[in-house]
Symmetry: C2
Subunit: 324 residues, 2 copies
Amino acid sequence: MSTDRGGLDALIDGIRARRWRALGRGLSLLEDAAPEAPALVGRLFPLAGGAFVIGVTGPPGSGKSTLVRGLARSFRASGRRVGILAVDPTSPYTGGALLGDRVRMQDLATDREIFIRSMATRGAVGGLAPATRDAVDLLDAAGFDPILVETVGVGQDEVDVMRTVDAVVVVTVPGLGDEIQAIKAGIMEIADVFVVNKADRPGVERAVRDLHSALEMAEDGSARRPIVKTVASRDEGIEELRARLEACREQLESSDELERRRFDHLRVRIEALLERRVLAATAAAVDLEAELHEASRRKEDPYTLAERLWRTVLARHREASGES
Amino acid sequence: MSTDRGGLDALIDGIRARRWRALGRGLSLLEDAAPEAPALVGRLFPLAGGAFVIGVTGPPGSGKSTLVRGLARSFRASGRRVGILAVDPTSPYTGGALLGDRVRMQDLATDREIFIRSMATRGAVGGLAPATRDAVDLLDAAGFDPILVETVGVGQDEVDVMRTVDAVVVVTVPGLGDEIQAIKAGIMEIADVFVVNKADRPGVERAVRDLHSALEMAEDGSARRPIVKTVASRDEGIEELRARLEACREQLESSDELERRRFDHLRVRIEALLERRVLAATAAAVDLEAELHEASRRKEDPYTLAERLWRTVLARHREASGES
């Protein structure tokens, strides 16, 4: 129904009125990269840009979901409407644990001003980051602010997603050892606030100290980033974390840093769409499987093949233009 | 010098004769994605394809470098020439530890039939995977077999690199806890052999059991993959690991699985080159920074902008063709 103009109008109206069904249907279209997605984003994009988007990431078992739930309640108590996107990893290995997290989050669902959506990565076209970014625009246009984007620290998609948010919170816990900090390396550089959760466990001071040392090693100003101790299961430290995030927002907005970050995000987003476009055009112009055959027999090298395919795409378009 | 035909011929001759300077110069051209790189790969690619490429990955501190060194010695003792590519992560946070690893590997450098090269990711155009894949072709064409590709488990680049090798070894150590296994999730699916290194530490049986449980949860045949206990610093378990890898190679070669994997790798490689091509063509056709400005003010949505840029690239090519 949402392909025609009237259907899209009704969907946009429903999203702006924050009707649960409209939000859910719109997000499904974006998650599936449905044919309607570009038109939907075309309508949502001009309405968005007001919300502050906070990414929360950390290893499985660090209590991210509980923390995000507490943070959402805290923002809600200060009068804000909160959107939450919980991004599932692709892996079958962590599916069980995450499902548990999702169930635990449902007690929030009775509050009509907090909207939670779980995004599945499996089968997402071109990775999860583009779909997540579209979903953020939808929640933003619907009037949710802030929007919390939660990911599990499992690799590629996580880094990509965290490169599309305004501010990044990295969660760790005591007792994971030095190694864990190095593993989070791709993410640590873009963190704005660090959280040591489960701070009632032994080793919390050591964890904070290790984190400080790692940040000082970086010599890029990281050492000044705040480290907040929380016990999310007892709502301890959540208010301080929210205050830190409000301060971070103010600082980013009053400098040109927020604008700079969003410009970078937009560049990454456009590049991802162009990459998707060239792959689609190639698939339309040639039989890629057949083309790969000679190369797989080492008869044609990858650079020559790629250049030939690119020329074919361009020539096909030229013919099509000539015919029309 | 290597841009002209004669220079390239001399370089190829040097590489095939495994002269250290020629190998080093060729690898630098590929690592830098130099203008000469496509022509060089064009010459190397038909000569390559014979080597078995083994990826070794695991968290910092798991003793990967020592393991890879031991494995290389073991293959060498069985009469093989061994190539090693040690892929450094981009992050400044792990730079110190890795530098140490590199230094420790230098005692191998006195053996002329083991070639070691450290690949830096910083500044690699289009990620590290394409440059690593080109470097593998070079070592392959030079007659090294097997080729060991070592990465640190820090995210995006690691997964990309591991998706370009024939077989994957995942290294873990006792005492990292359940969490570590979930973190490795993006990699676990593509592992062929698991290693629990530092097996003289307490908790080794627990680590093996946890790994078994995680693999059994996956319900995709993972449970049958071997788990090898090693103490790499004392060369314990290395022969068993090599035997497992030889068996893995035989099994992959005798089925159509190796061919299937390499076909997939080639597809990914071609797609990456096409993506690089469209971004270069866009940069040549428009001023991307200026184009992003309207969108950054929410005046134009990303899908419309990307489509407009794509049309511009196509039109620019049509004009160029019409003129010629």
